[in-house]
Symmetry: C2
Subunit: 142 residues, 2 copies
C-alpha cells in the first residue's frame, strides 16, 4: 500500500541508480503526513519521533532528493531557513505569510499570472519560475 509519492520516489531512485533505504521511506512518510510548510529542522524532529536514529544530515539529503524528484518544492520566505511543501499533484500557487503567527495561506490569481507574463514579455524576458509572497496579518491575528 505504497503511496503514489512513494512510487515517484522509487522511480526516481531506480532511474538514477540510487538506493532505496528505510531512512528515505521514513522521511517521505513523515513528510507526506505534515500538511504545513516544514523546515528541515522541523521535519527532523518529527522523523526522530518515529526513527530516532536518523540524523539531521540525512533529512537534509533526503529533502534535496525530494526536490530533485519533484516531490517537494523548496520555499524561502527570507527568514533564514528553507521550507518544503508537497509538490506532487499540487498545482502552482503563491503564498501569504502572516508575520504575527507564521501561518501560510496559499492562493492563485490567474490575472496576476497573466500580467506577469505580459510585463516579462514586454521586457524580452522569459519567465522560468516566479515567487510571489504577501507578508501581513491574517484574519485570526487582527
Amino acid at each position: 500500500m505504497d503511496s503514489k509519492e512513494m512510487e515517484v520516489l522509487q522511480d526516481y531512485i531506480t532511474q538514477n541508480n540510487l538506493k532505496i533505504t528505510k531512512q528515505r521511506r521514513a522521511v517521505l512518510n513523515v513528510f507526506l503526513e505534515c500538511e504545513n510548510h516544514v523546515s528541515a529542522e522541523e521535519l527532523y524532529k518529527l522523523v526522530s519521533e518515529k526513527e530516532p536514529k536518523i540524523g539531521l544530515a540525512t533529512v537534509y539529503r533526503t529533502l534535496a532528493l525530494f526536490t530533485q524528484s519533484q516531490l517537494a518544492h523548496e520555499l524561502d520566505f527570507g527568514d533564514g531557513q528553507k521550507r518544503y511543501e508537497h509538490q506532487f499533484m499540487h498545482s502552482h500557487h503563491d503564498h501569504m505569510i502572516c508575520t504575527e503567527c507564521g501561518k501560510i495561506l496559499e492562493f492563485t490569481h490567474p490575472l496576476i499570472e497573466k500580467f506577469q507574463e505580459e510585463v516579462a514579455a514586454r521586457n524580452g524576458f522569459t519567465i522560468t519560475s516566479h515567487k510571489l509572497h504577501l507578508f501581513g496579518i491574517c484574519s485570526d491575528c487582527r
Copy 2:
C-alpha cells in the same frame, strides 16, 4: 555638497543619539555610487578600494543602519545572500532576475498590485509588504 541621502542619514543619526563617523560617510558614498543591487561583500570590496581600513563588520552594521533609516531596502533573491538597493526617493517596484547573467530588471504593474490587494482582502489578510520575483532569461542571454 552633501547629498540628500547624506542628510537623511545625518538626521537619522542625530535623532537616535548615534554618531557620525567617517566610515559611515564613506560607506554611504560608495553605496550611492553603485547603481546595481549590491551584497554586503560586494560593497565591502568597493569600500575597501577607497578606505582599506574599514572592516566587513562595519559594512554590515552600516547597511543595517541604512535599512533602518530607509535609505536602503534589503532584498533576498534566495541565493544565500542579501542584497541592497537604494530606497530614498525610489518608489516601490518588483524584480525580474536573469538566472543566466544575474541581471536584475525592475518593474511595476499597477494591476498586479491591485489584484494582490483583492485576493488578500478576500482572505481577510492585510498586506504589510510583498515580494514578487520573476526568475528567467533576459533578452541578452537568449
